[in-house]
Structures are given as C-alpha cells and as structure tokens.
C-alpha cells in the first residue's frame, strides 16, 4: 500500500524500502509518544511518595500507594463521588439508549415526511453550547428544588447524550441489510415484531458500542455537575477531584489529584483497549459513511 503512493526512482529498491520502513516506525513512535507521554506522567506522578512529588525520574523511586490511600480516606468522600458518577452516567446511558434506539430505527429504516428535518435537528442539538442550557436550567431547578439531586444532572445530560447516541445508532442500523426485516414481515411479523426479533439482536454490537461511547461522554461531563450541585455528598467524581484541597493550605495536592485522576480514567482506558475496534468504528460512523 505504501509503495504504491510513492513514485519509483532510480535508487536500489532494498535501500528505499528500508528507509521507508524506518520512517514508518518513526512516525508510529512519534504518535504513540505524543498520545501517551502526558498520560504516562499522570500515572507515574500518582505512584510517587507525596514527599517525592517533584521528582523527575521517569519512574517512581520508590513506588508508593500513599497518594491512592489519601484519595480513599473516608474524610475525602471520594467513594461517594465515584458512586454518584456511576449512578448519573449509568442512568443517562440507559435512558438515552432506550429512547435513542427507537429514534435511530425510525431515521435509518422508515420513510416519512420531515425525515431530513428530524435528522438535521438531532445534529443541530449536538452543537448546542452547554452553558446556554445550564443558565436557565439552574434557575428552573432552584425554583423547583432540584438542586443537589441526581435528576438535575441526568436530565441535562440527555442534551449531549441523545444526539450522540441517535447518530451513532442510525449509522449502525443503516448497515444492516433491509431484506432481513422485509423477509420477517412477509412471514407475518409486524414491523414492531420485526424490530424486536430481528433488528435488535443484530444491532446488539452497535447498541453496545454506543453504550460505551455515551457512558464515557456522560462520565466525563463537567459543567452540568459543577453547576447543579453544591453539596459535597452529591458531587460527581470529576467535580470532586477538581475541588481537592491539600493538607498544607495553599499547595495544590497534585499527587492526590493525579491518583484520583488515574482512578477515574483507568476504567475508561481499559474499556477503550478492549473495545478499540468497535469504538473506532462507532466514532467514525457518523462522520464518514
């Protein structure tokens, strides 16, 4: 593939291909270092002793879990913050998939008037600035006593989660051959039955990918959780970490923050490593196909 995009010249082939291979490996190495170096520094800093915080050795010397222990000290309340994050992101993902799959099916398979408008609106809403929603909802939720509740974080999260999920699922459902449900409908299934018995099982991988992507987006959400909650008990993990205060007054507790950041990031990184192929196809589906 590579050879075909470069013009052949008079030089001996062996040298050229070796140079090219070396350039490829170099390029790959640069990309990997670019992507991983800052993340690597986060992990390394998390596992230094608090007294070694400003050490610059590439690996901790000695390794220590003191920062992690500090994160999980009961007075910090980080367990509760993690639980809040799981609840908010989990519920957002579940509700989004439930109603988003139905909409995606309609957009991918049915023909009806204003379909283009409906699709355009789904995309347009994904561009809506979070702050334009937070300011009015903050006032509304204050009036109806929703501040410091889970629903005050879950409901606004639908604003970015729904367009994301609908778009991903629509792209996936379009790839499934329409003949399958047509056959089922000829055999006497209604459209609803064909959807439940034929399309849903086939779409499971797409739904699963969308679930991961939506969960990551909801898990990473910041401005809504920051605005709608001011009680420590209700904070999500990302907000809680950004508010960690050090034991020594004005010093930013970088070590503790990095350890906590590792805790909230590692599950996502593991999910990404396991499902990389599916996530990539999910992420690119909306933009390309």
């Amino acid at each position: 593939m590579t050879a075909s995009t470069l013009p052949a010249t008079g030089r001996p082939r062996g040298t050229r291909s070796r140079v090219r291979a070396a350039a490829q490996y170099l390029g790959i190495a640069v990309i990997v270092v670019y992507c991983l170096a800052p993340f690597f520094w986060m992990v390394v800093s998390a596992f230094r002793r608090p007294t070694d915080q400003f050490q610059t050795t590439p690996l901790p010397d000695p390794w220590s879990i003191a920062n992690l222990q500090a994160v999980f000290e009961p007075s910090v309340g980080f367990q509760r913050a993690l639980l809040n994050s799981i609840l908010v992101a989990g519920t957002t993902t579940a509700v989004t998939l439930l109603i988003g799959t139905a909409t995606a099916y309609a957009l991918a398979r049915l023909d009806f008037p204003f379909k283009r408008t409906a699709a355009a609106i789904v995309i347009a809403t994904s561009m809506f600035p979070g702050i334009s929603m937070v300011v009015p909802l903050l006032k509304l939720f204050t009036d109806i006593g929703w501040i410091n509740t889970y629903q005050a974080m879950i409901a606004p999260s639908m604003s970015f989660a729904l367009p994301l999920a609908v778009w991903n699922l629509t792209a996936y459902l379009r790839q499934l051959p329409p003949e399958l449900e047509q056959a089922a409908m000829i055999d006497g299934c209604t459209r609803m039955q064909a959807f439940r018995r034929i399309i849903l099982p086939l779409a499971a991988p797409g739904v699963f990918t969308t679930a991961i992507i939506t969960f990551i987006a909801a898990w990473n959400e910041f401005i809504i959780a920051l605005s709608m909650v001011n009680k420590k008990d209700m904070q999500t993990a990302t907000v809680a970490i950004s508010r960690f205060t050090g034991a020594h007054g004005f010093d930013t507790p970088y070590g503790t923050q990095m350890a906590a950041a590792v805790v909230v990031t590692i599950p996502l990184v593991i999910a990404v490593l396991i499902f990389q192929r599916r996530i990539v196809s999910g992420l690119t589906a909306g933009g390309v196909k």
């Binding site: 800052p38 610059t56 609106i121 300011v135 909802l137 990404v272 990389q276």
Partner: protein
C-alpha cells in the same frame, strides 16, 4: 435549530397534509408515519425539554432583570421585571462589555488556533497510520487514550505538567509561570486542547483516507504524478468532506469551551476567559439576566458560525439521509 418545530413536524407528518387515497400503499404509508412519530417522539420530547425549553427560557431571562435589588426604602427585594434589551446593552458596553469582548476574542482565538493546529497534526497522524504496515493496533489504542481522559482530568494533568516546578519547566530549563495569566496561559490551553483532540481528528481522517480507491493512485503514478501532486490532487480533495465534518464539530466544541480553561488556569483569568466561563460566573453571582444575555449571544455566535460553515463550505452532514430517501422513493 430549536426543538419546538420538530414536534410539530413529526405530528404534521402523521395527521395532516395527506390526501385520503384509499389504496393499500397509502394505508401502509400512513401506518409507517404513525410508527415514525411514535418512535421519534420520546427523543424529541426530551430534546424539547432540555434544549428547546432552556433556549426559549434564556432568551426570556435575558429580557428581564432578575435577582435582588434595593427598593426606594433601602430594603432588599427579590424582583423580576421586563427590561427589554437593557441586559444586552449592559453586557455589550462598559466594564461588562470589555469583559465580553475580551471573552469573545479569546473564544475566537482559541477556535482558530486550536482547530488549525489540530487539523494539521491530525492529518499528519492519519497519513502515518494509513501507510503503516505494522503497529496499527498499538496506534489505534494509543490514539484513543487522550480521547478517553475526561477533559477536567486532562486540565488537572496539564496544570501539574505546567506548574512552576513541573516537568515542562524542567525539560525546557525555564521558569515560566504557565498557569498565571497572559500568553503562557493561552499557550498552555492550546497545547492541552491539541493533545486531547488532534488524535480524534486523526482517527476520523484515517477513516476517510481508507475510503479512497487505491486505483486512483495507481493511475496517477502511471501518468507520472509525484507524491506531492498525488497528495494535493487526490488525497486532499477526496478526504476534504470527512475533514470538514470533523472541523465543524471541533469548531462547535471549542466555541463552547469551558472545562479546560476553568480548571487549568482559573475562572477569573482574563487571558483565557471564554464566553461560557463569563456566563457561568455571572450565573454564580445570581446575575441571571446578564448570564442569560451572555449565553444567548454565545448561542447566536455558534449558530452563525455553523450556518456560515454549511453555506460557504457546503458541509453536508446528512447526505446519507438524502440518499436513503432517494433509494426508498425510486
């Protein structure tokens, strides 16, 4: 762009407009429209509540004076009355106006610089990955990691890297106060944002590259085109639609940027204050009217940029919907 007309649209599709042709086909068409309305309504209802309502409510709030004021006798009263465009006049002139235009300039500056740099790096990454014979799996896993790290956490990470005794200063042998204010702070934001999103653009672009038929390059080579000519005449034009979609989504994302400057530098630092941060601060001070005016202005800015993008560059986001419809009708 609001969600309100949609519900009407979806309804209109099912209940009105259709001449009552009592053929088998039109009956199935009607039932299909009903089903579509049924399947679409939960999503559009939710979007109407969390986007449509706030949008209208923000415009209304921006026309009212809200919060606590002192009455003639010096008592604090909670007051809400119509003030017309005076919130806008307020946020566009004087001290607040200076803050707004500064935030507007910052937002625009970050949008242009970060997206330009990210496209260049992302395109380069995509070309490397496309031509790589081995190691694709490693790169793909690696490239997803910046994407998976929460923006808030990446803000903390870069704050640590850019702290006065941090690794950035150690490596550079400098004592730059990155996170204080001024140009170093702007640069820190650009670097942190580029790290997180350039790989994502690379990923999308790679998917676009893989759709280009190999025969085109073979034909060009037979005709004696150089590598550079092939890149400019084949790769760039054919990958452009994908790249434009990626750029549009990135531009929309940077225009509403909040997490990164808020955490990495701070909400009160002039040099990195975006419109989102400004509106957030005003809402935090219970100046809902001004906050709503800022956020409405940001919304209008986003709409204008998106419209210009789609009009001028012809980004076709829903091309596929159209093809499907054409197929269905044929």
């Amino acid at each position: 762009m609001t969600s309100m007309p949609t519900l009407a649209d979806a309804d209109a599709g099912t209940h009105t407009g259709r001449p009552p042709r009592r053929t088998r086909r039109s009956l199935s068409e009607i039932s299909q429209n009903r089903l579509a309305a049924l399947l679409l309504s939960p999503t559009f209802l939710a979007l109407a509540l969390v986007i449509g309502y706030p949008l209208i409510s923000a415009i209304r709030q921006s026309l009212y004076s809200q919060g606590q004021e002192f009455d003639a006798d010096g008592f604090v009263v909670s007051d809400e009355h119509f003030v017309g465009l005076s919130n806008y006049a307020d946020v566009l002139s004087g001290d607040r106006g200076a803050a707004f235009w500064n935030a507007f300039a910052n937002t625009t500056f970050f949008t242009i610089t970060t997206v330009a740099i990210e496209v260049a790096i992302g395109l380069a990454m995509a070309l490397v990955m496309h031509h790589a014979l081995r190691g694709r799996a490693i790169v793909r896993a690696g490239i997803l990691i910046p994407w998976a790290v929460p923006t808030a956490m990446s803000g903390l990470l870069w704050q640590w890297i850019f702290s006065s005794n941090g690794i950035a200063n150690q490596l550079l042998g400098q004592q730059i106060l990155w996170t204080a204010d001024g140009w170093p702070a702007k640069l820190a934001i650009i670097i942190a944002d580029t790290w997180k999103t350039a790989p994502f653009i690379g990923l999308l672009t790679l998917a676009g590259l893989q759709l280009i038929p190999q025969e085109l390059y073979e034909a060009a080579r037979v005709d004696g085109a150089t590598a550079l000519q092939q890149f400019r005449r084949i790769t760039l034009p054919l990958v452009k639609p994908v790249l434009l979609v990626a750029v549009l989504f990135r531009v929309m994302d940077v225009l509403r940027m909040f997490d990164l400057p808020y955490i990495l530098i701070g909400s009160q630092k002039q040099s990195v204050q975006t419109i989102s941060i400004l509106a957030f601060n005003e809402a935090g001070n219970l100046h809902y009217g001004q906050a709503a005016a800022y956020s409405t202005l940001l919304f209008l800015y986003v709409v204008a940029v998106a419209y210009a993008f789609v009009r001028l560059l012809g980004t076709d986001l829903i091309a596929e919907t159209r093809t499907i419809r054409k197929d269905a009708r044929a």
